[in-house]
Subunit: 221 residues, 2 copies
């Protein structure tokens, strides 16, 4: 049997002040005690149903957040990434609205802009960069950004989320057509949100059946 | 430290008789001795530089194949997938032309059509299905199918590879335009291949710089 350390790490991404940010936690023990890092932990073979269950458990224990969407990112491995020995980390990423993060253990979570990220312990910088690249490539053709928009949102707000993730401006008419094609939004009856200088705009939310599932566009936006 | 078994498994896909097929090897020991399964093995913490290196080592040892293209697929885990205990398998997939498989240990490899796959040991059926779904979704917008086309090929041959992977007929003109946009093929000077009832067709190959790297189309075919 191989002597390999098995862990999970979580990249929790959110949008704050128009920027994509990642949640970091100060490590509570060695190695790298007190240094901000991705939330992570060992797989508990006696307890966890699989690595995904381990990731959800670790996230809940360390941040009090139960995420509606979690996707396996990739597995990182080797003798040098963890000073304790040859290790495997199965990394997951989750997109959560800032509301959810602020309802969690917000006093312990530090948010850092993914585009101005300091060095992180282990290979956590590589893990974050991999998650951001995956997210940006998927945002073009999926419902993924909706998980960052909060419980309810106007279409202009949702468009700004897509634009922040994709790093480019989108045409309003074709953005609305694509959202319509995906068919995953529902109007909140009689509820309207502020829309800047304009008249109040209809509020929408993700239909219940889409809250745990990604919708993919046939073609990008 | 967690008591978790760490393995790698390989999904080696090829195209034979117009069908996508997966390479299976009879297992040489328990559990499931003599049953055909995906090539796989333990990570050797003292030897392997990372999980990818373990996958390449296992593939070479068990099939004598060195693949030009290997991608991490996903990691499969849990207490029930391996009778030896709570296990993690980091799965990789590779696309190889049938020529390369036949130059390997062909007497030990059994090819099975992915669309008519029997039950397999462990969760290997799920791993194969995941690889096939990934391949089919990627084939639409990448150079991935070229790895199945062999060292050199005519454009009609390459189009048939894309069609077999994607399960649909493609328009010849737009197929050629997309291949041209990707810019990853080079003509083999003065070399021509048979093209059915038609006149001999120009032979192409992947440019050297694309042999280890995927090219992605901005949009699907």
């Amino acid at each position: 049997m191989s002597q390999v350390i098995c862990t999970v790490d979580l990249v929790l991404l959110t949008l704050k002040a128009g920027e994509l940010q990642v949640a970091l936690l100060k490590r509570d023990k060695e190695p790298f005690k007190d240094v901000p890092a991705l939330p992570g932990g060992f797989i508990h073979a006696g307890e966890d149903a699989d690595a995904r269950a381990a990731a959800l458990r670790v996230l809940l224990e360390k941040t009090h957040i139960a995420t509606p969407y979690l996707e396996q990112l990739a597995t990182f491995s080797g003798p040098a990434r963890d000073p304790r020995g040859w290790s495997v980390s199965i990394a997951y990423y989750a997109l959560v609205s800032i509301d959810i993060i602020e309802q969690g253990c917000s006093e312990q979570i530090r948010l850092a802009s993914v585009d101005r990220l300091m060095q992180l312990p282990f290979d956590h910088k590589l893990i974050v960069d991999t998650a951001v690249a995956r997210l940006r490539s998927k945002s073009q053709y999926s419902s993924l950004p909706c998980y960052l928009a909060g419980e309810s949102f106007t279409l202009p707000q949702l468009q700004r989320v897509y634009e922040a993730l994709m790093g480019e401006e989108l045409n309003k008419v074709s953005f609305r057509r694509k959202m319509n094609e995906m068919g995953m939004l529902e109007e909140l009856d009689g509820q309207f949100g502020a829309a800047g200088a304009h008249r109040p705009a209809q509020l929408y939310r993700l239909k219940p059946e889409y809250r745990d599932n990604l919708t993919l566009l046939e073609r990008g936006l």
